[in-house]
């Protein structure tokens, strides 16, 4: 795997990876801006701005991008999360140039029409309402807010309803002007192309876009946590949920890899397919302790690789007739175990092999590969992606035991219980 890395004069980072398994090419542009860059009053603006970037420019009027890509047999989309906003097109390889033209235009020439902003407000609010229908969204929102008092990981990417009702056209335009410069972006192409030609075309299409001023830095690190935090949420339904979130290191922290191994032992390997669900992970310790015992219907964990220190999140759906407190007690036993005894060499080996397999699977789709390459570059750097497997293989049982002590103590976590209205009095 040879990744060609280049920086244009206007500051645009370019990453190219040839993958000629299929006659398909994916092209992504990643902006180093997400809800991490938002302050109260404009929460949700990064995601809303992403929506506005599908609402047209002079060259590509509203709705044209979708249609042009579909007509050419491709797919396209945009995503916003805590650390990034990104757009991609995947096309038959001989049509890939269209993606470059669309993304260069999107970077500099979006219209942000005021009427479109007004119409999109109701779509965004509808998206938030759809999320609010899900108890796990509501719980996760409360847990993040409790876990981050200072850092902007405090709020969800969708934003708070009061801000969605008030964010103005001017603020959205300002967001675009501030963060969408080539010097704040990474262009990624993966697929069936000649790297020299691809680089030349990226130079031609993106080169003329002027750099913007450097965006303001995010300077609100979360202070160390000095004790367990707990939140309880009462809501609709008849099912209870438990979420436990441990403060975790950033992707670029050397502790990230040993903790990734440990979380694989606890809750299983994370899937690396953007468009498919994670593997079932029924051999993990928490599956055995929570699901096999009949306490929970399922359990999942995720240690997301992030720009700033984030969370190792564990979420369990409590079985009917059980309570979140019972599930939490069973979880505590397992967490105590990783604090007091090292994982076995076999567990280490298996965790590494599983993650390597997921990494290999992800290389079978250029879209997935483009996603992981771009994502890695935003939260760490290209080297993080290229050395991913090596760094995992270098992890020792002792490393794992050490990071368990650092990150998985009770004082370093936030616990959330979601209790259905009907049951809340009985178990609260």
């Amino acid at each position: 795997m040879t990744i060609l890395k280049h920086t244009l004069d206007n500051g645009l980072t370019v990453l190219l990876l040839q993958n000629r398994r299929a006659p398909v090419t994916t092209f992504w542009v990643w902006y180093r801006v997400g809800s991490r860059n938002e302050v109260p009053g404009i929460t949700g603006i990064a995601h809303w701005a992403e929506h506005m970037l599908f609402k047209g420019s002079e060259a590509f009027p509203k709705g044209q991008i979708d249609k042009l890509i579909a007509r050419n047999g491709g797919m396209q989309n945009g995503f916003t999360w805590l650390d990034f906003t990104t757009f991609f097109e995947t096309l038959p390889a001989d049509r890939a140039d269209l993606a470059l033209r669309i993304e260069a235009d999107r970077m500099a020439k979006a219209l942000f029409d005021a009427d479109e902003v007004a119409l999109e407000r109701s779509v965004i609010i509808s998206e938030r309402q759809g999320a609010e229908n899900e108890p796990v969204f509501l719980l996760s929102e409360e847990v993040s807010a409790a876990a981050f008092r200072v850092h902007p990981y405090h709020h969800e990417t969708i934003g708070d309803m009061c801000d969605l009702e008030r964010i103005s056209h001017e603020q959205l335009w300002h967001h675009y002007q501030t963060y969408y410069g080539p010097n704040n972006a990474i262009a990624v192409a993966v697929g069936d192309f000649d790297a020299t030609q691809m680089l030349a075309r990226i130079e031609e299409t993106f080169g003329p876009i002027p750099a913007r001023s450097d965006p303001p830095p995010v300077n609100r690190p979360e202070p160390p946590q000095r004790g367990e935090r707990r939140v309880t949420l009462v809501g609709a339904g008849t099912t209870s949920y438990l979420q436990v979130a441990y403060r975790a290191p950033a992707a670029s922290d050397p502790d990230f890899f040993p903790l990734a191994v440990l979380t694989t032992v606890l809750t299983g390997a994370s899937g690396m397919n953007l468009f498919a669900s994670s593997p079932p992970n029924r051999s993990s310790r928490l599956y055995r302790a929570l699901v096999e015992t009949g306490l929970a219907a399922n359990v999942s964990g995720s240690l997301a690789a992030m720009l700033d220190p984030y969370l190792y999140n564990i979420v369990a759906t409590v079985r009917a007739g059980q309570t979140p407190a019972q599930v939490e007690a069973a979880l505590d036993e397992q967490m105590d175990r990783v604090l007091t005894e090292p994982i076995s060499a076999e567990e280490l080996e298996s965790a590494v092999k599983r993650t390597k397999a997921e990494f290999a699977y992800s290389s079978e789709s250029v879209t997935n590969q483009g996603y992981w390459l771009g994502y890695s570059s935003v939260v760490a750097d290209v080297d993080w992606f290229e050395s991913f497997v090596d760094r995992l293989e270098a992890v020792t049982v002792e490393d794992v035991a050490r990071v368990a002590q650092v990150y998985l103590s009770q004082r370093n976590r936030t616990v959330g219980h979601y209790l259905p209205e009907a049951l809340s009095e009985a178990v609260a």
Partner: protein, 422 residues
């Protein structure tokens, strides 16, 4: 481009003496192998009181066999990063697995074990039942799933397509272990089983391995249920509202009885559906209901043309205050598709989309496997991908209007809405 598509020259198809059909396609430079297939043991053979039985039975196959416990199966698969699962549909039970190419034998061995000698341990059945029941409880509070469930019941009363494959609280609670064993014995057989192997494995090797794993399986007097249930007719508009407390968004499903995959109208209907609610961010519905009216976070249409005539639906998630406006917007687009010929250019766009997106669909081993299984399930022929563009491009503006008029009636439809109490 089409010369590189899987074709009779590059697909290997072998029928084993016991009725298993093996399809193999080798992809070079891929680290993995995908195994995917189906057999005729779906929910079609359940009685209404047994709803959920086929799904429960398929979920038990890897929860204990003559040679392995549930824990051993999970350990063996997951320690090498492999996965394997079964899932029941109405007609068939599907299975799918993936592993690094070096672990194909393990995957096939566990598949064969689950299919041929499951033991249905009682304690595992109780655990799985508990998980299914919790899932059904969650469904009862999920607006999207409840809208879909209510719609199917409304459009297909007393019909297998109207029943939930996952079942219901009362039916799943009542299913005994002996019913699971009975369903397995009555419906699991190699006759009609199809398995596709796609990835870094040669056809000779793959066929040999499948033969070793499944070739000796003999069923005893099982005849797979390959019947298609009768089509339904909707004579009057039907509407059902499901009130779910504490929700902020409503989901709606509006639709009609559609057609089977084998129907001669299929390709015209597929294009009509693409124009209505798929093409370029959800077609005309997306343009009108989402973009112009700003009403919905999502809206699209879906043609479920399978072994029998499934539904043809429009689906949307909207603010509860906007439900009627969204319905009006959907029906307006349905009328337009019936009353006005589609502009030739718009049809050409959707044709270009269906033909042009084939390289993307065939990019992954999973995508190739799904395509091979469709060829077999619907008898499309191994040369289907070579003929595909011609089939798509043969559809005319008149064909699209004709199927819209035949299937999509803006006065007579079934409508289910799930959301907060209005």
């Amino acid at each position: 481009m089409s010369s590189s598509f899987p074709s009779p020259e590059t697909i290997t198809r072998v029928e084993l003496p016991n009725g298993v059909t093996v399809l193999v396609y080798e992809t070079f430079g891929s680290p993995s192998v995908v195994l995917s297939g189906y057999l005729w043991a779906g929910a079609l053979s359940e009685t209404p009181a047994q709803a959920g039985l086929a799904g429960f039975t398929s979920g038990m196959l890897l929860r204990g066999t003559e040679t392995r416990s549930f824990g051993q199966i999970n350990d063996e698969l997951e320690s090498v990063g492999a996965r394997l699962g079964f899932r029941s549909g109405v007609h068939t039970v599907g299975f799918g697995g993936k592993a690094l190419a070096e672990d194909l034998d393990l995957l096939l061995d566990i598949l064969a074990d689950g299919l041929q000698q499951p033991t249905f341990p009682g304690d595992e059945a109780e655990k799985l039942r508990g998980q299914i029941l919790t899932n059904l409880e969650r469904r009862a509070h999920d607006t999207r799933r409840m809208a879909s469930l209510a719609f199917n019941e409304l459009l297909y009363p007393d019909h297998p397509y109207g029943r939930s494959v996952s079942g219901y609280l009362e039916t799943v609670s009542a299913l005994g272990r002996e019913e699971l064993v009975g369903y397995y014995r009555a419906h699991y057989a190699p006759q009609g089983l199809v398995i596709a192997v796609v990835g870094a494995v040669s056809p000779q090797t793959a066929v040999e391995r499948v033969r070793a794993a499944l070739g000796d399986w003999q069923s005893h007097g099982v005849t797979p249920n390959r019947s298609a249930p009768p089509p339904v007719h909707l004579a009057e508009a039907r509407r059902r509202t499901v009130a779910i407390e504490g929700k902020t968004q409503a989901d709606l499903v509006l639709g009609w009885p559609g057609l089977a995959r084998s129907d001669t109208d299929y390709m015209a209907a597929r294009l009509a559906n693409t124009i209505l609610g798929v093409f370029g961010m959800m077609g005309r519905l997306g343009d009108h209901v989402r973009e112009e009216l700003g009403l919905a976070y999502y809206v699209y249409s879906q043609l479920e043309a399978g072994y029998g005539a499934g539904p043809w639906t429009a689906i949307a998630g909207v603010n509860p205050a906007n439900v009627q406006q969204a319905i009006d917007g959907i029906l307006q687009e349905v009328r337009r598709l019936r009353d006005e010929p589609v502009p030739a250019e718009e049809l050409a766009d959707s044709q270009a989309f269906l033909t042009g997106s084939m390289p993307l669909r065939l990019e992954t081993n999973e995508g190739v496997a799904a395509t091979l299984l469709d060829m077999e399930r619907y008898d499309l022929g191994l040369d289907y991908l070579l003929r595909y563009a011609d089939l798509v491009n043969a559809v005319t503006v008149g064909d699209v209007q004709a199927v819209a008029q035949k299937y999509l009636n803006p006065e007579v439809y079934a409508l289910a809405v799930a959301g907060p109490e209005a």
